[in-house]
């Protein structure tokens, strides 16, 4: 009878020790997962950099559009002056018209570029925010697991 009790106690102690080992293993896994916070921070910094780059490109596109507008005005003035000059400036009328065509082309291209950049900025930011919120969800779930491990440790002594 006493022998059975001793065996049962030893068996219980073994199970408890095994549970403790598993708990510690789990705790280590959770501690490793918590390092994800560093990756989230890195993504955040990268996102800020990318958004800054996109804004710079957008400003360049707007500048390009302004330059194209000026070129159109200059080419119109040139065409008027050439018309005043008469037959002698006939060739210059052709050049002014071509400059205007090219400037209009640049203006249209820079407009399309700005639209693409704005779309990219919006979708990239929304995706980043989804990742950021997802990271918070994961960190909350990990904290929940951490709490469970703490409770297990307390129960196991």
């Amino acid at each position: 009878m006493a022998g059975n009790t001793t065996e049962a106690t030893a068996d219980g102690a073994d199970k408890r020790a095994a549970l403790l080992r598993k708990t510690e293993h789990l705790a280590k896994g959770i501690a490793d997962l918590k390092a994800l916070a560093v990756a989230f921070e890195r993504w955040h910094e990268d996102m800020i950099f990318m958004t800054g780059q996109s804004r710079s490109l957008n400003r360049m596109g707007e500048d390009l559009s302004r330059v194209a507008r000026q070129m159109i005005m200059v080419s119109l003035n040139a065409a008027i002056e050439a018309a005043h000059a008469g037959h002698i400036a006939r060739g210059f009328v052709v050049v002014a018209a071509e400059v205007k065509n090219q400037a209009q082309h640049v203006q249209a291209l820079s407009g399309d570029m700005c639209k693409t950049l704005n779309t990219g900025e919006l979708t990239t930011t929304a995706t980043f925010q989804d990742i950021q919120a997802g990271g918070k969800m994961m960190m909350a779930a990990i904290s929940g697991l951490e709490l469970m491990v703490k409770q297990l440790r307390t129960e196991l002594g």
Binding site: T51, R55, N58, C114, K115, N118, T119, E121, L122, T123, T125, A126, F128, Q129, D130, Q132, A133, G134, G135, K136, M137, A140, A141
Partner: protein, 181 residues
């Protein structure tokens, strides 16, 4: 993916959050009207504040279009004129998004909210590129002079259900007042 009743509950929670946080004084008037399409204002002054509330099965993108004009400046900087306006507006948007997040948290066990980001107002016409199942746009007018645009873009991966907000003893739907981010 998102039934009309659930969308109605989300919109109701959003309107309540707007009235609680964008309106500075309870005595101020606040009109929220649906917008068919966004109004394009002066591009340099117009900014867009973006916040995302995510769960495993959906993401809700909350957008505010703000104009840094004299009416907005006077209304939001009346207490501290030294504080940058974009910071103040970012804080208000954050509080408003947080209130909506808390309401939704009653329906979803895993939910989190991003920090707000400020984008150029030129991004506003491209909300359809977010591939949302539902886009609701609103015009908010406070005291007849402060004009803000708002939009809710819901992207669902699975059908979701948002229950009616439980009422308090006074008959008002309940929502926490504490904001911690």
């Amino acid at each position: 993916m998102l039934n009309a009743h659930s969308m109605h509950n989300i919109e109701a929670a959003f309107h309540k959050a707007i009235r609680a946080h964008w309106v500075q004084d309870p005595a101020d008037t606040c009109e929220i009207t649906p917008l068919i399409c966004e109004v394009i204002r002066d591009q340099d002054e117009h900014k867009m504040l973006l916040i995302t509330i995510s769960s495993f099965v959906f993401r809700l993108i909350v957008i505010f279009g703000v104009t840094e004009d004299s009416a907005t400046r006077a209304y939001y900087l009346h207490l501290d004129a030294a504080q940058p306006l974009d910071e103040v507006l970012g804080e208000v948007a954050n509080m408003c998004g947080g209130a909506l997040n808390r309401t939704l948290a009653a329906n979803f066990s895993h939910l989190a909210m991003s920090t707000p980001c400020t984008l150029s107002g030129q991004c506003m016409p491209f909300l359809d590129k977010l591939r949302a199942q539902s886009v609701s746009r609103y015009a908010i007018t406070i005291n007849g002079s402060v004009r803000i645009q708002a939009a809710l873009c819901m992207c669902c991966l699975e059908p979701i259900e948002v229950a009616d907000e439980p009422e308090t003893e006074q008959g008002e739907p309940c929502a926490g007042e504490l904001e911690l981010f």
